[in-house]
């Protein structure tokens, strides 16, 4: 059973709730190697997304993702705003022609999203950014979709892989974003953007699971 526009909205609401719940944790992570605003930025952005999809009611998954992108771009700011914004924009474009997202469509959306982040931010795996969470998630999602799994399972394995990616950022020395100013001192801390990526994927997966 595929994800409708409504399902995507439900997933975004779950994502927003998770971001709100982990706001202080994300601030704390960013405080350690950044400027203590990532939780606030994401929370502000996803609150705005939720209130927007309430009034705008877009009709396709792609339209929901595109609206999310626009709202994030104009409310989050910082590095994560344009990066997450681009991710959702590219995801929207990647699934533009379908009414329901099946497993492969979800994997494709994730892949396109990650490519958007890389296109804008030019980070590679190991730079200690959200790419370190996205990259394994995309790979896991693709494998699951290739084995015929539906959206819920695809998102579940993606989320799981993303969380492993988050842990892997801990020993790294940052080469992109604000943490890179710390040089060697950035090692020993988890990247906040990677963490928010994994949190969102978990929330999406959980929403898809309870629906199915």
């Amino acid at each position: 059973m595929g994800c409708t526009a409504h399902d995507v909205i439900v997933a975004l609401r779950a994502g927003a709730a998770s971001v709100a719940e982990h706001r202080d944790e994300l601030i704390q992570l960013d405080r350690e190697i950044g400027d203590a605003d990532h939780g606030e930025n994401m929370d502000r952005g996803f609150r705005a997304v939720v209130s927007k999809v309430d009034t705008a009611v877009p009709e396709t998954p792609s339209a929901v993702l595109k609206l999310t992108a626009t709202v994030l771009i104009s409310t989050v700011g910082g590095a994560s705003g344009p990066l997450y914004g681009t991710a959702f924009l590219r995801a929207a474009a990647a699934v533009a022609d379908v009414d329901e997202l099946d497993g492969p469509a979800v994997a494709k959306a994730l892949q396109a999203g990650m490519e958007g982040v890389v296109a804008r931010g030019r980070a590679v795996v190991g730079d200690k950014t959200m790419v370190d969470a996205l990259s394994p998630a995309v790979e896991a999602a693709k494998n699951a979709a290739d084995s015929g799994e539906g959206p819920a399972k695809v998102l579940a394995v993606a989320a799981e892989a993303a969380h492993r990616g988050v842990q892997a950022t801990e020993p790294l020395v940052a080469r992109k974003g604000r943490a890179s100013y710390l040089g060697e001192r950035s090692a020993g801390h988890i990247d906040p953007g990677a963490r928010s990526t994994a949190l969102l994927l978990s929330a999406f997966a959980e929403a898809a699971r309870s629906r199915s």
Binding site: A36, E40, R44, G77, A79, S180
Partner: protein, 331 residues
């Protein structure tokens, strides 16, 4: 958290309201998205100079809006770069037909958001160029990293290119001048205490009573190294040596020396440090021809300072001396 605020979520908006009330003759403030605009903008036929970034660095950038400096400033949330729609609104409010120059501090967030705004403005038919300021020698520069941060040098870029635009220089010339300043300016900062971001509610980092952070930025991000607190003499040397060595500045050079308070350091201490910097530069034969001393690029209430050195030539000196009418710089 000890602050004179109401709801942390409203700090920037409420502060802008006060700024608008304080300087009706210099600027106006539009909201949703928030932009601080020069009172007489758009000025027809002149290049508009627009900058912006996270709030919390006041007077940067809003305090530099006015004749002879910025056409508009785009304030983001505290320590968070503004969004593209806000930058685009600033372009719309100030574009006088001769193009717009965006002065962008080199942070991933600022660069990405301003980049997007420039694209959007281009689609609307406004010619927009960007200059990236990256003067902080505390950060190792490399093509594989985010690169150097933009810090104190930003004020000098904004003043000089603002003066050029005011005098009628075209977009090419403004861009060339801005890049020239960027290529000749270097900075480094340090902190004794951490700032507290209103929405975070606690200090951005913890620092023992006998420690200081060297090579700090202006966003409450920790510095390159945490070292024991020493004397003013030692602190100034630690900032000046890497700056002088980087460009490098040499004996016989004419320079502008900018001694900046990060916010919480009193003028009494800042002048003291400035005097040391002047002496150390004189010992090296570097000639300080112009100076700026005060809290101009701050990090909320953070105690600390930065030094910025700009190599001057006749043209840059003349543009620096040109009249300016803003809340923070006025001559």
């Amino acid at each position: 958290m000890k602050k004179i605020i109401n709801d942390p979520a409203d700090v920037v908006a409420e502060s802008l309201r006060g700024m608008a009330a304080a300087h009706p003759e210099l600027l106006r403030v539009r909201s949703d998205p928030a932009v601080i605009v020069r009172a007489d903008a758009p000025v027809p036929g002149k290049v508009a100079v627009v900058s912006g970034g996270g709030s919390g660095h006041e007077p940067l950038h809003g305090g530099f809006v006015g004749a002879g400096m910025l056409s508009a400033a785009v304030p983001g949330a505290v320590f968070t770069s503004p969004t593209p729609d806000a930058v685009q609104a600033a372009v719309d409010e100030t574009s006088g037909g001769a193009g717009v120059l965006l002065v962008v501090k080199n942070y991933t967030g600022d660069v990405l958001n301003f980049e997007t705004a420039a694209e959007l403005a281009g689609i609307d038919g406004v010619e927009v160029r960007s200059v990236i300021v990256d003067d902080d020698v505390a950060v190792k520069d490399s093509t594989h990293t985010a690169g150097r941060r933009g810090v104190g040098g930003t004020v000098l870029v904004e003043k000089i290119v603002g003066a050029a635009a005011e005098s009628g220089a075209d977009l090419d010339r403004c861009e060339e001048l801005a890049n020239r300043v960027v290529s000749q300016v270097r900075s480094m900062g340090m902190a004794l205490t951490a700032p507290t971001v209103p929405h975070a509610g606690q200090p951005s980092f913890d620092l023992a009573a006998d420690e200081m952070e060297i090579g700090i930025g202006i966003h409450g991000e920790p510095g390159r190294a945490r070292v024991p607190l020493t004397s003013a003499e030692d602190i100034v040397r630690r900032l000046l040596d890497p700056i002088v060595g980087d460009l490098p500045f040499a004996s016989g050079d004419d320079v502008l020396l900018f001694t900046n308070s990060m916010g919480g350091t009193p003028l009494l201490e800042l002048y003291l440090a400035h005097g040391i910097a002047e002496r150390l530069l004189a010992e090296r034969g570097i000639r300080v021809q112009r100076r700026l001393v005060g809290p101009y690029v701050t990090s909320l209430e953070m105690q600390g300072m930065s030094l910025t050195l700009l190599k001057l030539d006749d043209e840059l000196t003349e543009l620096w001396d040109a009249p300016v009418h803003t809340a923070a710089l006025h001559w």
